[in-house]
């Protein structure tokens, strides 16, 4: 594939990309809406699907910029962003959001965990710092902790741990 291809796709969030059952879930009131920002397409699709399987609604973005441009920004209850991305990193995205007064609880994920970077992130208000590949139980507890209420279980999740 060409480099341009992911960028073109990035401008169209995966929210409406037609995976089965999406419409049903997204109509449910009270179910949390989670944004996933990751430049790697397959990682993003997998994360979006896992979050949905955990019972949340989810929407994927290929870059921090496309997320910031999104009209759905205000509807997001939680943000899960990759640390290493070309252009704006996950941490920069969090700082930008915080700076513009949009307080979306943020979870950073990375395939290259680093203790110093983790502490730096938590100091500036990132809720959780988790490693890839995403473990379902860990992700679930992180989302719950990030949004701050235990009731934030995914609707229809049969086995909340």
């Amino acid at each position: 594939m060409v480099c341009a291809a992911p960028k073109l796709r990035c401008r169209h969030p995966d929210e409406t990309s037609g995976s089965t059952g999406l419409g049903k879930v997204s109509r449910m009131p009270g179910v949390l809406m989670i944004a996933i920002v990751d430049d790697d397409e397959s990682a993003r699709e997998a994360a979006v699907d896992l979050v949905k399987a955990l019972g949340f609604r989810a929407s994927g973005f290929g870059s921090a910029a496309s997320f910031l441009e999104s009209e759905d920004l205000s509807r997001m209850d939680c943000l899960i962003a990759d640390v290493r991305m070309p252009g704006m990193s996950g941490l920069d995205l969090h700082l930008t959001l915080a700076g513009s007064g949009v307080a979306i609880p943020t979870i950073l994920m990375t395939a290259y965990p680093d203790e110093y970077a983790r502490r730096q992130a938590l100091v500036v208000g990132v809720k959780r710092y988790i490693r890839k590949p995403l473990e379902p139980e860990e992700l679930l507890s992180c989302i719950r902790a990030a949004v701050g209420h235990a009731a934030a279980s995914g609707n229809g999740d049969p086995q909340p741990s």
Partner: protein
């Protein structure tokens, strides 16, 4: 996909890897210091003298010859009372010869050559014998109570002069680079043994001279004048010096040999002044002139040897350092490359784990969501293929058949690549044009590697167009024969290559793309050069970049195919 494409472009850097790293380590301590025959190319004993050194050597000899002519008319004039200069002369001669000997012992410790050891021994003996020569010189150290037989001094002088001449001749004759010339065993012990031997020898010579002075044939009539018997010593010296010069002249000469020839020439002039022009009369102008010219020349030779040794050592140190730097940068490049490879493989693996977890979750629902589970599994399959492609790409790098060359029609190869990149170009809204030479364009090449080069250049061109919005996005591939070469150009209408990065685009790990490894152009260039061609970049007009490469056209030449 953009990432693993880079791996396909296998080339020399990776083939080099196949040589085990441990092998390199074992070779390295010696590698920069010895040439193919195991000699040290930087040492005085093996390095050939350059023109500047030869000129200096001839200059010294010419100056001495002039001095000889100037001193000749006054050679027999006696300078009474000049005995007091003898201690100063002896001290200087002692120091010069001991230092030269130390230098030669140091040379031996690296060179291990028997002949250099012999030479060092000769200098040490000569230097040591200067002391008793001066101490026993009539009228010099008398106030200190030293007043030996007048025959002691000439005995020591004769042994010193003939011994040194004989040793240089032995060096010149022995040192023919025979295999048995090298001495094995601990250097320190060999040198210490040799120094002890010389000390004992010198002491023995002095003792014999003192004890035997009355019984041996007399060399001196009185304190100043020699007996006719003495004439044997200068004659024998002249014969030995000449033989040594001839031996050094006829064989292949090293820098050390050149300076030894200067030394012998000097000694020859010295003995002419002392024993013939000066009439062998002590304290005559000729006698003094010979000694001082000899001393001056020996000092110059010592200084030259010192400075050359220092220069050679500095050069050696530099080459060791550059070797180490090269190894370090190679390691750094390898670390960066392994990190890139790990990233390329980890990325799909992580996605597979996440997708599989999601799939399990969908199936664990009260009412299993088979549709969602299926699409998660489909992603697992897709990512699995992606990981396999990456691994295949890496494995391709290590294929043994990259040197296999067959006749290839570049036109057909390019048509195939253009056809296969249609999906990419359509997605990128790029139109790809070909202007191929009508007739086939035969080259001898590795088809797999050539495909990698062309597809890498085309992919780069397509990538470069991704930001273009105000003009048509066009990639044009052109081929034609030019001289004895096939010329291929890949041009685009993108933003072109910025001047400040132009020099770096062929460097490893240099990339302008966020997900680029920065290996593609480096590999492409090394593949093309491996095929005997050239790859370079230029500007397209009005905008964009053009990459050109040439390959020798036609069937392989014998050399190319046989490599």
């Amino acid at each position: 996909m953009a990432g693993w494409r880079c791996f396909q472009n296998s080339a020399k850097p990776f083939i080099r890897l196949r040589r085990p790293i441990t092998d390199r380590r074992e070779e390295e301590p010696d590698a920069p210091m010895t040439d193919a025959t195991g000699r040290h190319p930087f040492l005085l004993t093996t390095a050939a003298p350059n023109r500047r050194q030869r000129r200096l050597a001839w200059g010294i000899l010419a100056a001495l010859a002039c001095a000889l002519l100037v001193a000749a008319p006054f050679a027999r004039l006696i300078l009474p009372g000049t005995e007091i200069v003898i201690p100063a002369y002896a001290a200087a001669a002692f120091l010069v010869e001991i230092l030269t000997s130390a230098l030669l012992f140091a040379l031996f410790s690296v060179d291990r050559s028997r002949s250099v050891l012999l030479l060092a021994t000769g200098y040490l003996l000569s230097g040591l014998l200067v002391l008793p020569w001066a101490l026993t010189f009539p009228g010099v150290f008398t106030p200190l109570g030293l007043d030996p037989d007048i025959q002691v001094t000439p005995l020591i002088a004769a042994v010193r002069r003939l011994g040194f001449a004989g040793i240089i001749l032995a060096y010149a004759l022995a040192k023919k680079g025979r295999p048995g010339d090298r001495i094995r065993g601990p250097v320190g012990r060999v040198i210490a043994g040799r120094v002890a031997l010389v000390l004992a020898g010198a002491a023995g010579i002095v003792l014999l001279a003192v004890l035997g002075a009355g019984r041996l044939p007399a060399f001196m009539q009185d304190a100043r004048n020699v007996t006719p018997l003495w004439s044997v010593v200068p004659a024998a010296s002249v014969a030995l010096y000449s033989a040594g010069l001839a031996a050094l002249w006829t064989r292949s000469r090293s820098t050390l040999d050149l300076w030894l020839m200067v030394v012998l020439g000097t000694l020859l002039i010295e003995i002419l002044l002392i024993s013939y022009l000066g009439g062998a009369t002590r304290l005559s102008v000729g006698w003094w002139a010979g000694r001082f010219f000899g001393l001056a020349s020996a000092s110059v030779v010592l200084l030259v040897l010192l400075s050359e040794t220092t220069t050679l050592l500095a050069r050696l140190a530099r080459s060791v350092r550059s070797e180490r730097l090269a190894r370090e940068s190679r390691l750094t490049a390898m670390e960066a490359l392994s990190a890139s490879i790990a990233h390329e493989i980890n990325q799909p693996l992580a996605s597979m784990v996440t997708s599989a977890s999601a799939g399990l979750r969908w199936l664990d629902k009260d009412v299993p969501r088979v549709g969602e589970a299926r699409s998660a599994l489909e992603r697992v399959v897709r990512d699995g293929h992606r990981a396999r492609d990456t691994v295949d790409g890496i494995r391709n790098l290590f294929r043994t058949d990259t040197r296999e060359r067959v006749p290839v029609d570049l036109n057909r190869l390019i048509e195939g690549i253009v056809r296969r990149s249609e999906e990419e170009t359509r997605l990128g809204q790029v139109s790809i044009e070909t202007r191929l030479q009508q007739s086939p364009l035969p080259v001898t090449a590795n088809p797999l590697q050539m495909e990698q080069v062309v597809s890498n250049l085309v992919a780069n061109a397509v990538d470069a167009l991704s930001t273009v919005t105000d003009r048509p996005r066009i990639v044009r591939v052109t081929t034609r024969s030019q001289g004895g070469s096939a010329l291929v150009t890949v041009e685009d209408t993108g933003p072109g290559i910025a001047a400040d990065i132009r020099d770096r685009i062929f460097d490893p790990f240099f990339s302008t793309k966020p997900e680029g490894m920065g290996m593609g152009l480096m590999f492409s260039r090394s593949i093309v050069e491996d095929h005997g061609g050239r790859l370079w970049a230029s500007d397209n007009r009005p905008s964009g970049a053009v990459f050109h490469f040439t390959l020798p056209s036609g069937p392989a030449s014998g050399a190319e195919a046989g490599r």
